[in-house]
């Protein structure tokens, strides 16, 4: 296998890796970098468990070639709580019982983060749309939708105080 160098930003840190040509970002994250927050589900882009954020947009890391991440800004679940303090979305998922087995949770949270970053005050329908590419087998989605709306509300409050 040919290896190629890739330089990208991973969770705000510069990352230089040699990756096999044709290998996926999912494989680089889990198998090379040991970042298991990104889940490997269907490996064909239908379940959403491997969702990561690339340049502010949600991407399926199982369908993203690692070498195409050259110069990109990649955020995984590990990047949400760098100092150990939970991100408001993580806290809302915990408080709202929005996880059971937890396998879809990282993808759900990152898909939700992309939504809230571009739309801090989403409607329920917009939340449903944002997570419609992510499959959950346990919760019935309802607690997840509620947690995202709760997190959005909480994240808007500090912004108002500053204004």
């Amino acid at each position: 296998m040919t290896k190629v160098p890739v330089e990208f930003t991973l969770n705000t840190r510069e990352q230089n890796e040699f990756v096999e040509t044709g290998s996926t970002l999912l494989s680089a994250l889990r198998d090379r970098l040991g970042l298991y927050g990104t889940k490997a589900g269907c490996h064909q882009g239908t379940c959403g468990a491997c969702t990561v954020i690339i340049d502010g947009e949600p991407h399926l890391s199982c369908l993203t070639l690692a070498e195409r991440c050259q110069g990109k800004d990649v955020t995984t679940l590990e990047g949400l709580a760098p100092a150990g303090a939970l991100h408001p979305l993580q806290q809302a998922f915990m408080d709202g019982f929005a996880a059971q087995c937890g396998f879809c949770t990282p993808g759900m949270i990152l898909a939700a983060k992309c939504l809230l970053d571009r739309n801090p005050d989403p409607t329920r329908d917009e939340v449903v749309d944002a997570i419609s590419g992510n499959i959950c087998r346990c919760t019935g989605y309802e607690p997840i939708i509620a947690a995202i709306l709760t997190a959005a509300q909480g994240m808007r409050k500090p912004a108002r105080k500053r204004a």
């Binding site: 749309d129 499959i135 919760t139 019935g140 989605y141 309802e142």
Partner: protein
């Protein structure tokens, strides 16, 4: 094109546990040197919240904070035997085993505390916040941390307990066929409201309204979580999931999530749930099993609602648009 609405109802009596060659679960509890209590199980938490509820049951029985309980489900080979987490049996069977083990451990814990405080063990109470004191005089007190240290290093006592719950094998009575295959029964009733598109055969579930009688909801938020998740699974079984919609060969069946269909977050109905608590005499703190029945009553309720809407009685799952359209055509023939 018309969209027709209908309403259907279904009820379920759901047994807790099952009856093969007897249905046992064991629990072993021991205190660490610093007064944490480790509950060793070979029961598996697959997301339903077993560890949380078992920690609650153990803490309540021991009289210690829930944070002081560690649930160890590490190894089904070496752990005390459990039949498994299925048949909605976890809370009931394992919970009862933990209560038995925790009572034994609590007795040793109070014996050690009694020796340390030079009082009678019968006069001691736990405050549930990490201390043991003499009834009526809270100032005569010792922390569970210090009791555990003393047990290990002064008294040479193991603060531990063994627990098992067994539902023995039940054989049918030859005359009547009567048997006792399970323990307590939980109950549920669901009313479903659907809208059927008579042109496409598609069914949309508009609302699922359910009442659940669960004995006692040991963790109300997790009971609610089970109910909503189960209702979604019920919709999924009723209308979507199948391994073989593809005629004629099963090899043409679905191989991925593009073909194996499930409702997404956009397909959710309005949910309304009521939990009724009538504690079961044999349940841990009155609890029955709530897990699986949450996916049961929605299915026939949806089938009945479709019948109410368009007069089509479908008796195999899932109720696909094709089956609905064939039914409508047969009615009009």
């Amino acid at each position: 094109m018309t969209r027709k609405r209908g309403r259907g109802m279904a009820a379920v009596n759901y047994p807790t546990g099952m009856n093969l060659g007897g249905d046992p679960s064991q629990a072993l509890i021991h205190a660490t040197t610093t007064g944490s209590f480790v509950v060793t199980l070979s029961s598996v938490d697959l997301g339903q919240g077993l560890k949380t509820v078992m920690a609650q049951i153990c803490a309540e029985t021991l009289g210690v904070p829930t944070d002081n309980v560690i649930i160890d489900t590490a190894d089904t080979d070496t752990g005390p035997h459990c039949m498994g987490t299925f048949a909605s049996r976890g809370t009931h069977r394992i919970g009862n085993a933990i209560i038995m083990a925790a009572k034994e451990a609590r007795a040793v814990m109070l014996e050690v505390a009694a020796e340390e405080l030079e009082v009678d063990a019968g006069d001691l109470v736990t405050d549930g916040a990490g201390a043991i004191h003499v009834k009526g005089s809270p100032q005569k007190s010792i922390s569970i941390f210090n009791v555990a240290l003393a047990a290990h290093f002064k008294h040479g006592k193991s603060i531990s307990g063994r627990g098992i719950f067994l539902q023995p094998r039940s054989y049918p009575e030859p005359e009547t066929g009567k048997m006792t295959p399970a323990t307590c029964y939980a109950h549920a009733c669901t009313v479903a409201e659907v809208e059927v598109d008579t042109e496409t055969g598609e069914v949309a579930v508009l609302s699922l309204k359910s009442a659940y009688e669960v004995g006692r909801a040991l963790n109300p938020r997790m009971v609610e979580q089970q109910i909503i998740g189960g209702a979604w699974m019920g919709i999924s079984h009723a209308l979507y999931e199948t391994t073989e919609p593809y005629y004629p060969d099963r090899a043409h069946g679905p191989v991925d999530f593009n073909q194996y269909l499930m409702p997404g977050p956009g397909d959710l109905p309005e949910f309304a749930n009521v939990v009724i608590e009538r504690p079961a005499a044999d349940g841990p703190f009155g609890a029955k099993g709530v897990g699986e029945m949450t996916a049961n009553s929605p299915i026939p309720a949806i089938a009945n609602a479709i019948f109410d809407a368009v007069g089509v009685r479908v008796d195999s799952l899932p109720i696909t648009p094709e089956k609905v359209l064939r039914g409508i055509r047969a009615l009009n023939a």
